[in-house]
Amino acid sequence: MIWWLLPVFAACAPVGTDPSLIPNLRLAQVQVDPPEAMPGEDVDITAEWMHPRGAAPSVDLLSWACAWDGETCTRPEVLELVPPVVLRDVPPTVDWRVTVPLEARDLLDDAGTPVGLFSFTLVCEQGLCPILDDIEDGVGWELLARPEDVVRAVPLEGTSMASRVMVLSLRDPEARRLNPDFEAVIPAEGPAGGTVAVRVEGAVSAVAYGYTSAGSVEPWAEQLGPDPFTFTLHLPDTPGPVDVLFVLEDMLGGSRSVRQTIQVR
């Protein structure tokens, strides 16, 4: 029963454990809008990647959809219906649109029971992920059916991958889930070594998370209630821009984010 001590040692190890600080290239947010769609409908996907304070790398992106059981994509036809997307040299906030094909109706049973799909998105510093070249060339798609193997095929450093749940259904638009409402008031500037307050207001029972490219956000996560909540952003000691992102998650796949560059003076 030695492993009961794990939390003990984890609690004693502050190094690298601030979840609000972005220590390396990180895909911090993928929003699917709407989070629940029907065949034939357009879906807007927005990805937000962050990196530690300093010169931004050139980043490429790969995104694909998958009916995933935790190990493999159980419905290979999804990849055919919603082909993977490769985008080159993308900015920190990038969006694209996919259309759910009408043939996706075949993924649902006769009763039209909603089906959960996963959207996987991989960002890579340029040149680190040859798999993107393969996908563009129309080869190597079978690897996408095993998302963990995609992770194994790329280096640990300079890459970041995330999964997002999206729902395919036939429900009426008014019955479908939407992304939560969210407002975050982030100041445009702040003092070096000082703090600024970030006021957040949004859907009750959703969780707000704060990320920063330098300094820290306290607390990192907070379950929102009916009243606004104020995060404290601890700014770094040196002047310059700091990239700040606040994300609201309803835990069901719905999300929304607010991003701001703060000038530290």
Partner: protein, 636 residues
Amino acid sequence: MPAPDPQETEVVEVVETSDTSGQVRTAPANVLSGIPGSRDDVLLGLQNLPGVTRAPLGLGALVLRGMPPEQSAYRIFGLRVPSLLHFAGLSSVLPGGFIGEVAVFPSNAPVNYGDGLGGQVDLQLAPAPTSSTGRVHFDVLQTGAEGHVRLGPNDVLSAGIRRSWVDAVLTPLWASDGGVIRAPRYYDGQVRWRRDAPGGGTVDALFMISDDGYTLLGAEGTGALASAYQRTFGAGLVRWRHRLGDDWIHQLAAAVVPLYETADLRGGDVASQWRVRGELRDDYAWNAGGDLQVDLGWQAEAEWVDQAFDVRGFGPAEEGSGTALQGAGYAMVHAWTGPVTLQAGARGAASHVVGHDTLWTIDPRVLVEVRLSDVVRLSASSGRASSFPGVRARNTDADGVEGLVPGWVWQNQLGLRVRPGYGLQVELTGYVNPMGNLLVGRQERFRFFQTFPPVGELDTGPYASEGTGLSAGGELWVRYEDDLWTAWLSVTGGRSLRTTRLDEDVPFDLEQPFALSAWAARALPRGWRLGMRVRAGMGLPMTPVVGRYQQLESRQFVPVFGDRNSERLPWSYGLDLRIDKRWVWSRTELLLYLDVQNLTWAQPLEWPLYNLDYSEIIGIRGLPLLPVLGIEGVFR
């Protein structure tokens, strides 16, 4: 095999053959407790024997010749108990005054031992004192008292109690901004009655209880429970040993051992188990002539198990109970002819899970020893040991399956022992132990792990007897003792590999291909004694994290593992020091000691704990410098 009893010299003679090269390793309690870095604890000293792998964090679980700790059996005068160590290996469950000698069979135990594929650790209680004795012990980690009272010429009543201080010492150190941690707390109590019957024979009864607890609270001031663990077990052990006529020795022993273990993780995930075990042993030794001895015996066991596990991340909730009945019988012949000693026997055992299946095994074992001279002995032994799958795996009313078979290991050993004199003894041992029918499957399920849960890709399929393995290596044990010096050198080298449904020939999770322990202690004038120990060991295998992705809904990172146990933790090194002084008066004895563990403050990486996004190994590191100051008083 019972160890020699100083009060029964005739028994010593009968069982002497067990002391063959490399088969059993024995050490008296006072030597083990005095090993530097062992914190004056007898059983922690066992980790200095060859063939014993140092468990992660040095926390005491015994890994014998590359076998998991749960496959080794821990016994008190031959009767099985759940453990001989408190939680996290902080201390043994019996105080030093109750322990006489510890015998360790890393493998190739005689046929009167069964249960498990690993080794056997058999603890013999201390001989009865010649006069009433009291003992108090106090150190930084624990305090205890024991008394041994002579109730006439034939009876001795002993009682002891201990309570740890470690929680009071460590809790303030471990308290952090993020939480309040209560260090492990343990206590134990013992009552022993020994009667030497006037007509010969001995009755020895031991009743003991051990209780361990550990709590981790959440944010300071909230009092919210983050995790908690408790293990309580008791043992009632009775042994009657006597002569039957001139040529027979009979030993009847019985045990009742209840165990309760519970864990509350994250303030809501609960796991608990009850195990109540009863055992009856009936052993006979027949001296059939000057050069022949026959040992016979049978055992009966019953164990009731009730388990309920509902822990997130460890598969679906699981609940079940069942009873296993086990019977075994053995026969063994010892023959001496000239310089050759032969020990051959077989053990048959059957296991029945009530309402389910019945399994059986036959394990033959043989040992030959040749005295090449007064100085040199050569021995070879080969034998099979078996392990029945537990109730959980065989209970088809819960999650078990039919058709499982006992796991086996074929243990082969060559030993050379040289006693050139001058207090020097050298033992060299080689072993090759292939294994088969090992239980695999349901790796994701919760169980009360003795070390760490497995990581990497797990075999989540139904239980099956499809694993194989091989453990092979060599050991060197050099001992020297004279009036001033005591010194040991233990070197172990070996591999322990497993093949399962997922992996082929991967290192066992606790495989340590090389380990060295060297210690020496010297008596100094005026009752002083100074000792030092050097340890070095190759790191345990680890399954690397080769990537990760983030589940955005929960913001949790999910690690993606590489090949199982394809990398290894760094080597560990350590230097320990012990200095003690003993004062002896007519009726009182006082021992003051300082045991400094990890003098060089080396804190090797013991377990690859990662940071939140798996981009960096934070690691669990070994204990820092740990000085333990203790005092012990003996009053007669």
